[in-house]
């Protein structure tokens, strides 16, 4: 039984954690892709920026959350979302809009977004230093241990407070996005523009508004993902390069331009990562007596070591590009 608990802790919970974060990030990437038709490389740095805003606000008002009974960082999240959304709109106005107005190829926008990546990274490192910092400035990270009501299950299932916030906020964000895209006028206009920009413009949709709204949503989602990731581990200014590949893999697996696909893709990539670094020997050990004598299991049966975790999203990316470049859910743009 203990082995099963170990499996739940190391695969189910941590897979859902990274899956949720990748999913929220991938939604932003896929929305930008479907409206503006380019891969936005600075997305992971917008996530870092959001987390950094939370860090700044939390350091400024460390005791604000205690009165409401939530961690200060979570309380500051809406404010950071707003700041990151305005940053995203500003970046678009300054850097991407002139390029779009010149009618450049999408790949030039990609290079421009790499430039923006470096600008954001430089700014964040300039102001935060290069080390890691915890977002729990004044609060304490609660850890919940759920004991299982079974015979022989001594180890408890461990969930931390930020992970619970992560699951709740992910569900809220996904439902809100679903309602926005399907029920609101703007959301429908956005889907129309993603299907056919010329037709959308001809039928009286203000494409500039749609672009701004897309950036706002992407920025706000990026702030959520970055903050929740930093809450779960620590805030580090160089998170972005390790996040980019899984997020893009998630967006492409789900079918680029397909928000629901991005959610599925995020969880596929997240679970694939945790399953690949999981040591399967733990699950096979209880059966070691019944195995034939010549089969001696090595102590480490993980597919890849944790240091090679980044291979997993890349492998998924390559596999999907070879066998199904449109993604699992048939994205609109390839």
């Amino acid at each position: 039984m203990n082995e099963l608990v170990f499996f739940i802790n190391n695969v189910v919970i941590s897979g859902s954690v990274s899956g949720s974060i990748y999913a929220i990030g991938a939604i932003g990437v896929t929305l930008i892709f479907s409206i503006m038709r380019f891969a936005h490389f600075a997305h992971a740095d917008m996530m870092t920026f959001g987390a950094f805003m939370v860090l700044l606000l939390t350091t400024a008002f460390p005791a604000a959350g205690a009165s409401l009974g939530v961690p200060t960082a979570v309380l500051m999240l809406p404010l950071a979302m707003l700041l990151t959304a305005s940053l995203a709109v500003g970046i678009d106005k300054i850097f991407y809009k002139p390029l779009r107005a010149h009618g450049v190829k999408p790949i030039v926008l990609v290079i421009g977004s790499l430039g923006v990546t470096l600008i954001l990274q430089g700014l964040i490192r300039l102001f935060s230093g290069t080390g890691g910092q915890s977002l729990y400035v004044d609060d304490r990270k609660e850890i919940f241990r759920l004991a299982l009501p079974f015979e022989g299950a001594r180890a408890p299932i461990v969930v931390t407070e930020p992970q619970i916030y992560l699951f709740v906020i992910t569900i809220v964000a996904v439902v809100a996005l679903h309602l926005f895209l399907n029920r609101s006028r703007l959301g429908k206009a956005m889907r129309a523009m993603s299907d056919n920009p010329e037709l959308a413009q001809a039928s009286g949709i203000n494409t500039n508004t749609i672009v701004a709204v897309t950036w706002m949503i992407a920025g706000a989602l990026a702030a959520i993902a970055g903050t929740l990731l930093s809450l779960d581990v620590t805030f580090k200014p160089d998170l972005s390069f390790f996040l980019l590949l899984p997020i893009f893999a998630a967006a492409i697996v789900g079918g680029v331009g397909h928000p629901y696909g991005a959610i599925a893709g995020g969880f596929v990539v997240g679970f694939a990562e945790t399953l690949a670094v999981f040591n399967w020997n733990v699950l096979l050990r209880p059966f070691s007596d019944s195995l034939p004598a010549w089969l001696e299991l090595p102590s480490n049966l993980a597919f890849v070591g944790t240091e090679y975790k980044i291979v997993v999203p890349f492998f998924i990316l390559v596999a999907i590009l070879v066998w199904r470049p449109t993604g699992l859910f048939k994205g609109k743009v390839i």
Binding site: F38, A39, F41, F95, P98, L99, H102, V104, K105, P106, I107, V108, V110, I111, G112, L114, G115, V116, T117, L118, I119, L120, Q121, G122, L123, R125, L126, G129, T130, G131, F241, F242, L244, L245, F248, I252, W280, P298, N300, L301, F303, G305, E307, Y308, I310, V311, P313, F314, L317, V318, L321, V322, P325, V333, I334
Partner: protein
């Protein structure tokens, strides 16, 4: 009378019909400024330091030439130059470092070879399983068998490999080198980088151009992770040094002279690459590449095999990057996998290319040397500016500066590179020395 009429009408003059050589004023001015800058660096920083800077700039020029044929000739964006550079550096290290008897003198090479044989056998088995449908096995069953067999065999082989590599690490430190001349390593490094480029290009070049950028970014991080964590092969974070030079080293001739010889050696290589690239650019092959870049549909309608040409040029660029990485690694005389950074080895090269002029080889070399000088000189400048800011902050507001200001000042250069990329794309998308488009009509 008729003669004067003809000269008045420019369409009739032979000089105009075949556009003559323009006086290269822009090139002369830019290279003159560059020469003055180099001389200034020599005067201020001393000969040994400045020659070292020039050799590194020359190595970067090879990388930039690799990127300029990918981005400038063919419009393919490679965001993972670092990975190919690291591969070249690794090969230069692996081939030139002396033979490690603590490894070769034991049973370990045999063990390692046995695991490699197991790996080869596993691959044969898996490929065989994937062909089972020809024997009448239903296709879903065949896929299932292949996947399960692949997973199990992978686990078996990888656990065997882990045992052997752990044994190598504990008993011999690391595999050691082959003790061959460095240039063999450079060539193999180029070939290896080309092979990786072929793999990536084969998958991505038929798809949207964004996918190539994502995939190259990923492969660069993977190559770095592999080199950093394979202590049995590269000593990982412990680093390998010194790497022997193909030319007489500093111990025999002193720093300045030995570096000057290395520089002339590199300059010859650049000259050869430059000559060959210019030949290729002006040849029908180069015209075809540019036609594909400028209008894919019409090039395809002319019967050009677009994906094959793209793959060709992508692999060629990767080979140059591997070669440049090898030359740079040997010159540094130190193999440190952690020293390969996306900023120094991908984005700096990108700035060199887009600032110098994508598609223009001379502009690319100019961009490489100029940007590298600015980059090297920006380090003391950034520190100086940061100290100034700190002194001002302390004096004016009583601001208590954090202790890690120096590392932050160096981070500020990231910001400058980013600004440079976005500004060049916005205001000078063709670079300082734009590609000269000849009209053939």
């Amino acid at each position: 009378m008729s003669n004067s009429e003809k000269t008045r009408n420019p369409a009739y003059t032979p000089q105009e019909a075949a556009p003559g050589r323009r006086f290269p004023l822009r090139e002369l001015i830019l290279f003159g400024v560059l020469l003055v800058a180099i001389l200034a660096v020599y005067a201020i920083m001393g000969a040994a330091y400045s020659t070292r800077m020039l050799v590194e700039a020359a190595c970067y020029a090879i990388l930039a030439l690799g990127l300029t044929i990918q981005w400038g000739y063919a419009g393919q964006f490679n965001a993972g130059v670092m990975g190919f550079v690291a591969l070249g550096g690794f090969c230069a290290m692996f081939f030139s470092v002396p033979v490690n008897d603590a490894f070769w003198g034991t049973a370990l090479p045999g063990e390692f070879g046995r695991v490699l044989l197991y790996g080869a056998a596993a691959i044969v088995l898996i490929v065989g399983a994937s062909k089972l449908d020809r024997l009448g096995v239903p296709k879903p069953l065949r896929t299932f068998i292949t996947v399960v067999l692949g997973l199990v065999l992978y686990l078996v082989v990888i656990s065997q490999l882990r045992e052997v590599t752990d044994a190598i690490e504990n008993q011999a430190g690391f595999v050691g080198g082959l003790g061959l001349p460095p240039w063999i390593g450079w060539i193999v490094g180029g070939a290896l980088a080309g092979g990786v480029g072929y793999f990536i290009g084969h998958i991505c070049l038929g798809l949207r151009s964004d996918y190539l950028a994502i995939a190259t970014l990923g492969i660069a991080e993977i190559i770095k992770a592999f080199l950093k964590n394979s202590d049995w092969l590269t000593r990982g974070t412990a680093t390998v040094s010194p790497l022997p030079w193909p030319t007489p080293g500093p111990a025999e001739l002193g720093f300045t002279l030995s570096r000057a010889i290395y520089l002339s050696f590199t300059a010859v290589i650049i000259a050869v690459i430059f000559f060959l690239l210019n030949r290729a650019y002006n040849a029908p092959w180069g015209r075809m590449i540019r036609a594909i870049r400028d209008n894919e549909v019409s090039a395809a309608a002319m019967g050009k095999d677009i994906n094959k040409r793209r793959l060709e040029i992508f692999v060629l660029g990767c080979i140059l990057m591997g070669l440049g990485g090898g030359i740079l690694g040997t010159f540094n005389s130190l193999f440190d996998p952690q020293g390969y950074l996306p900023l120094n080895h991908t984005f700096l090269v990108l700035v060199m290319v887009i600032l110098g002029g994508p598609g223009n080889n001379l502009g690319t070399i100019f961009g490489a040397v100029a940007v590298y000088i600015i980059w090297i000189m920006s380090e003391p400048l950034a520190l100086f500016l940061m100290q100034l800011a700190v002194a001002f902050g302390e004096g004016a507001f009583g601001w208590d500066a954090p202790s890690n200001m120096d590392s932050r000042a160096l981070q500020a250069r990231v910001l400058v590179i980013g600004l440079l990329i976005t500004m060049v794309l916005r205001f000078a998308p063709k670079g300082l020395l734009p590609e000269k488009i000849k009209s053939h009509g």
